[in-house]
Symmetry: C2
Subunit: 263 residues, 2 copies
Amino acid sequence: MPATTPLILVTNDDGAEAKGLKALIEVVRPLGIVYAVVPETSQSGMSHAISVKKPLHVRYRKEVSNDRYHCYTVTGTPVDCVKLALNKLLPRKPDLVVSGINHGSNASVNLLYSGTMGAAIEGAVNRIRSIGLSLLDYDPDADFTAAALISKKLVSQVLANGYHADLCLNVNIPAIDKNEIKGVRVCRQTRGYWVEEFEESVDEQGDRIFMLTGSYTNLEPGRPETDEWALESGYAAVVPVEVDHTRYEDVDKLKDLNFDLNT
Amino acid sequence: MPATTPLILVTNDDGAEAKGLKALIEVVRPLGIVYAVVPETSQSGMSHAISVKKPLHVRYRKEVSNDRYHCYTVTGTPVDCVKLALNKLLPRKPDLVVSGINHGSNASVNLLYSGTMGAAIEGAVNRIRSIGLSLLDYDPDADFTAAALISKKLVSQVLANGYHADLCLNVNIPAIDKNEIKGVRVCRQTRGYWVEEFEESVDEQGDRIFMLTGSYTNLEPGRPETDEWALESGYAAVVPVEVDHTRYEDVDKLKDLNFDLNT
């Protein structure tokens, strides 16, 4: 634990009214001073997006705030919330950023689209330990009992042990009964992608309209070191996330792309 | 070169009317059959965002299209454009995705916020070679002469050599005269972050409004293997990008987070 009372920033991508957010706030409130800085509305699929040349309206929710709990809503993305919190709203750099508990999967390639994880990664970019949490249940009224228990254990462990300053964890929890969850496994991100099956119609101008929908393809089924395997096998999956996206093995391999423009 | 005429998907994040897009289309049109599938409006800072539960309107731009060049605009994000192109609009999987030429930097941590790079990374997720291109000049009327030359050399080399199927390159070009550019360097992503200096005002309800603005902090100045150093030194910077965001060194280090929930 930090010497002073921990300062914890909570955000999410499902908006201020999400059940998963409320579950996470209940988890962290006994552990320190909590600032919830969250999008006013759902920001699902917003990834690491920021609002460029667009004003962000910030409202302090006096009616639910007190000395140990402060709540703000922001008309922006999850990453906007983290940026505003760190630069304008919090009294000091927080000891932890927690994002979630998201409704739905952020495992495998979903990590790239996830607003929940965008916020967590923004924490790590700013060298603050960060945890993104998701329950594999899209139901707005999902049961967060098991997810809250796992979140509490992980948050407490990260606060107690510290690890490095840009630790970032992508935590996914299967939508099964607490007693059926076998445990928590540290994994790597599964390789996979979505095959989109857009629903198609036509608008009043005769232009085509598409709604995104699709099915996930796992390129590495049955690999026990992957997050998808862990989740299918009844474990919560923890993937440590890298903010440096360089593909190092290619830096040397592509040396023939080092060229002189004048030859 | 592929045995058949190359099929090239072009997209961007600055929208259909951007000068950088037009420059890139001129670069690739002599190299194959080109499909431009681009956002209708600016999508700067949209990262890897997708439109969830929001219809995408797609318009075929007959007036500029022909047998070898097809242009579509989409009311969505750069990643939406790639998903629609791959799943609905193109006759087959393309040989290359090119995104840009962006107005502004996608070097260092800007990679994470970039809609241009979101689109390129989505190509790589789908195992298509992808290149994101940016000129470090925000001026809508910027001079793309040098950027077009470098883009042409890189695109031709990737089409000719192939490399691996999920190759993804983040290319940034300094805003200097063609004759001053020293060459092209393969680099790694610089560690850095933005310190935000939001401009603050108050709205009609008395709520605070913030506009994002800030200054970049380079955590690794003077390191010649980084993209920021290359750009400052007059080189175009090429960073190979990884779609797997696992931080592998942490997978072993965090084994104490593997725990049994029942103990």
